[in-house]
Amino acid sequence: MAAALKRPGWWRAGLGTLLGAAFGFALVVALRKASGLPAFQTEQTGYPQVIVPLITGPLGFLVGLGAFDYWFRWASGAPTIPEDHSNHGAYSWRDYFKFNTDHKVIGIQYIVTTFIFFFIGGAMAMVMRAELAQPGTQIVEPGTFNGLFSAHAAIMIFVFVIPVFAGIANYVLPLMIGAPDMAFPRLNALSFWMLPIAGLMFVGSFLCPGGAFDAGWTGYAPLSTGAPLGQSFFNLGVQFAGASSVATALNFLVTIITMRAPGMNFWRMPLLVWANMSTSLLVVAATPFIAGVQFMVLFDRALHTNFFQVLNGGDVLSYQHIFWFYSHPAVYIMMLPGFGIISEVISTHARKPIFGYRLMALALIGIVVLSYTVWAHHMFVSGMFAWLRVPMMITTLLIAVPTGIKIFSWLGTLFGSVLQLRSTAMLFALAFIVTFTMGGISGVMLGMVPIDIHVSDTYFIVAHIHFVLFGGSVFTIFAGIYHWFPKMTGRMYDEKLGRWHFWLTLIGMYGTFLPMHWIGMEGMPRRVADYSAQFGDWNLLISCFAFLLGAAQLIFLYNMIVSWRWGPLAGGNPWRAKTIEWLVSSPPPVFNFDEIPRVVGGPYEFGVPGARHAILGPSEAEVGRPEPAVAGTAGGRGP
C-alpha cells in the first residue's frame, strides 16, 4: 500500500487530490481566521473554501498521477530516472489509464474521453428537447433549463469538439509527418490529463447549491458575476481546458516545424498538417483571452474586483469584447482541423489529388488572419461603439471567400474522380460539404448588420451554429473517426452500420436544425425554457427529430465498441491512401518507424504513374515488405 502511494498512479493521484484539496481548504480557513473573518463564506458568489480547493485538488491529482515527476527531479537537480520508455505505448488496456507519453495512446485517451463527454452533453440536449416539445414547463424548471443549455454548450465546445480534434491529430499527425512522437511527450500527456478535470468541473457544477452555471456558455457579465457557485466551476473548468489547449497547440507547432521527415517541405505537408498548424496558431494567441476573462469574472465574484461592476466603474461590454476576441477564433479552432480531415478523406476516397493544393493551404492561413478581425460581429446589437459594426461586417463577409475556396476546391477534387461512396467516412465528408455550405450561407446573412439585428439571439442563431458545429465540425469528426478507425485499432468497422448511422444522423440533423431557422426568424428567442404557443407544432417536430438524432449516435457507439473488439483485421492500408501513416502497420508500432521515412513527393499523387509520397526503409527495394517485427504488438488495443 505504502509502495503504491509512492509510485505514480491512481493511488497516489487519489492521495494527491485529497492532500491538494485539504491544503487549499486549510489555507482559506486559516487566512480567514487570522483576519478575524468567519471560517466559511457562503454568500452566493463567494465560497472561497470551495474555489481554492477546486484549483489545488486537481493540481494534486496531476502531481499524484506523475505528470510532474520527471520535471521536478530535473528542476531540483536530483538525478533523473533514465528514460526506459516504461510510460510509452500501450501493451494492455490498463496502459490507457496511466500517464502515458505515447502520442498514439494519448490520441485514443483524448478521443474516448471526449466522446464520453459528447454523450453526456448529448443527453442534456435530449432533456432540453423533451422540455421544449411543448410550450409551458413540464420536465425541468426554467433555472435548471438554463443550467442545461449552458453546460451542454460548454461541454460540447470545451471538452468535445476542440479536444477531439486534438486527439485525432495527436494520433495521426506525428505519423503523417514521419515523426516518432510529438515534440514534448510529457507535456502532451499533461495536456490530456487536464481535460477530464475540466469536463468533471462542468458536470460537477450541477451538484452546487444554486445549480449548474446558468449564464450560457458565453457567461456574459453581469449575469455571471452575480450567479451562484456553479459559475465558478465554469470559470475554473475553462482554465484547465484552455491550458490543455494551449499546451497542445504549442506542442503541435513545434512538432510540425521541427520534426518533419527529411524531404517534407511545407508544400509536401498533407492538408491535415496545414490545418492543425493554422489551428494551433489561433489557439496559442487567442485562448489566453478567454482564460483571462474568466479569471476576471472569478475575481469579480470572489475577490470583489470591479472589472464588470458598473456601479464601481466597471464596464460590462468589455467582457464581450475580450470573450469574443477568443471565442470567434474558437469557431475556426473548431472548424479548421475538420477542413484538414475532409481534405484527407475526400482525396483518398475520390482517388484524386486535392484540387488547388497550394490555394487550399493559403486559404487556411487567410482564415487565421481574418478570424482575428471579426469578433465584434457577435455584438452588432450589444450597444457597442456603433461605427465598429461596418468594418467588422466587411471582414466577416470576406472570410466567406477563403471558406468558399475550400468548398469549391473539394468539389473540383471530386471532378473526374473514382468516387468510393461505400465508405462511411466519404458519406460524412460529402454531407459536410452541403451542410457546411448552408451553415456558411446563413453565416453570411448573419454577418450583415441589418439582418443580424433581427435574428441575433433567436433560434436562427441556434440553427446556424448547429449547422456549422454539428453539420460542420461533428460530421468531420465522424468522417475522421471512420477514416482512421482501421489505423487506430487495426480493425475494420461495420460499413453497413456506418451507413445506418450516417443516414439517420443526416435526417435527424436536418429535421432538428433546419426548422429552427424558420421559428427564429418568426420570433422565437433562444435560451428559453418556455415559448409562445404559436411555435408549438414546429418544436414538437424538432424534438422528434432530435430524439432520432440522439438515437442514431447509439448505433455509432455500438459499431465502434463491437468493431474495436471483434471487427475483421484491417491491414496496414485498407483505403490505399498515400500519406505516411498508412505505410506502417495498423495499429502502428510503438515507436512508429524503425527508420525515419524519406518524403519524395506531394501527399496526394493519386493517378500519377510511379509517384509516391514517402519511402520507408533504407532502399527502394525494401518498400512494401512486411512490417518490422516490433509491429503488431498489442499497439492500439484497449478498452
Partner: protein, 281 residues
C-alpha cells in the same frame, strides 16, 4: 468535359436557383412587417436569399453531377485523373465570391444607414428593463413622466427609444419591427454605450416586446405588450395617464424596481391601455 456538358451543368444551376429562389422569396420568413425598417430589412433578406440560392445551386449541382457520374463500381480500384488544379478556375472562384460579399456589404451598409436615420419629430421614450419586467417612460413637461408597463405608441411616427437596464443585460426586440438592441446597465459615470435605437411603426396592432438576452430564470417570460395605435388615440391615452416623478438616483430618470413601484406604477394602467379593436378615442 465537353461544351455541351458544361452548358447542361450551367442550365441545371440556373434552373435550380430559380426553383429554390422563387418559392423562398414568396414566404414571409420574418412574419408580419410592422415598421418602415422591416420593409428594408426584408428586401435585403430576399436579395440575399436569391444570391444564396445561386451559390448553393452551384454546390448542389456540382456535387450531384460528380456523385452520379464518377461513382465507383464495386471492386473498381483505379485512381482518378491526376488533375492538380486550374489557375483560371481558382481565380474565378476567389473573385466571384469576393464580388458577391462586397456587394452584400455595401448594400447592407446602405440599408443600415436607412433604418437608423433619425427623424426630427421622433417621439422619445425611455425603456427600462430589469429582471423580469419592462417599464416605458414618456417624458412630459416639468421633469415628470408618464410611466407604463405597456408600450403604447402612435403609428407612422419615429420612436427614439433610450434603453437602460437596471441589473443585468437584457435585449429589446419586437419581431414585427425587426429592431433589436441590448439594454446595458450603466454606472454613475455612464459608460460609453450606444443606447438609443430608432424605429418607425407603420402598422396598427398589438405586438410583444421579447427579451432576447439571457437574463436569468425568468428570461423566457420577460415580455411586454406593444400597442401601436392611431395618433389621436395615442394622445388621448397619454393625457389620461397620471404624471409621476421619475425615481431619483436611477440612471436616465427611469423608474426603478421595487422603490419605484409605489409612486410610479399604477396597477390599473396596463388595463387602461387603449384597445385597438374598439377604436375608441
Amino acid at each position: 468535359m465537353t461544351r455541351a456538358t458544361l452548358a447542361r451543368i450551367i442550365a441545371a444551376i440556373l434552373v435550380l436557383t430559380v426553383v429554390m429562389a422563387v418559392p423562398m422569396t414568396q414566404i414571409h420568413w420574418n412574419g408580419t412587417e410592422a415598421s418602415t425598417q422591416a420593409h428594408d430589412i426584408d428586401t435585403l433578406l430576399n436579395v440575399m436569399i436569391i444570391l444564396s440560392c445561386f451559390v448553393f445551386s452551384i454546390v448542389l449541382v456540382m456535387l450531384g453531377y460528380c456523385v452520379l457520374k464518377y461513382r465507383a463500381k464495386p471492386g473498381d480500384e483505379s485512381d482518378g485523373e491526376p488533375i492538380h488544379g486550374n489557375t483560371k478556375l481558382e481565380i474565378t472562384w476567389t473573385v466571384i465570391p469576393t464580388v458577391i460579399v462586397l456587394f452584400g456589404a455595401i448594400y447592407s451598409w446602405i440599408v443600415l444607414g436607412d433604418i437608423e436615420s433619425q427623424a426630427s419629430d421622433s417621439l422619445h421614450i425611455d425603456v427600462t428593463a430589469q429582471q423580469y419586467e419592462w417599464t416605458f417612460n414618456y417624458p412630459e413637461q416639468g421633469g415628470k413622466v408618464v410611466s407604463s408597463k405597456v408600450l403604447v405608441v402612435p403609428v407612422d411616427r419615429q420612436l427614439d427609444l433610450k434603453l437602460t437596464a437596471l441589473d443585468v443585460l437584457h435585449s429589446f426586440w419586437v419581431p414585427e419591427w425587426r429592431i433589436k438592441r441590448d439594454l446595458v446597465p450603466k454606472g454613475p459615470g455612464g459608460n460609453d454605450v450606444d443606447d438609443t435605437v430608432v424605429v418607425t411603426p407603420d402598422k396598427v396592432g398589438t405586438y410583444n416586446v421579447v427579451c432576447t438576452e439571457l437574463c436569468g430564470f425568468g428570461h423566457s417570460t420577460m415580455r411586454a405588450l406593444v400597442k401601436v395605435v392611431p395618433k389621436p388615440q395615442f394622445e388621448s391615452w397619454l393625457r389620461r395617464q397620471p404624471l409621476v416623478k421619475p425615481t431619483p438616483g436611477s440612471p436616465n430618470s427611469a423608474s426603478t424596481g421595487t422603490s419605484g413601484q409605489d409612486q410610479s406604477v399604477d396597477p390599473s394602467q396596463s388595463g387602461s391601455a387603449p384597445d385597438n379593436s374598439s377604436g375608441s378615442s
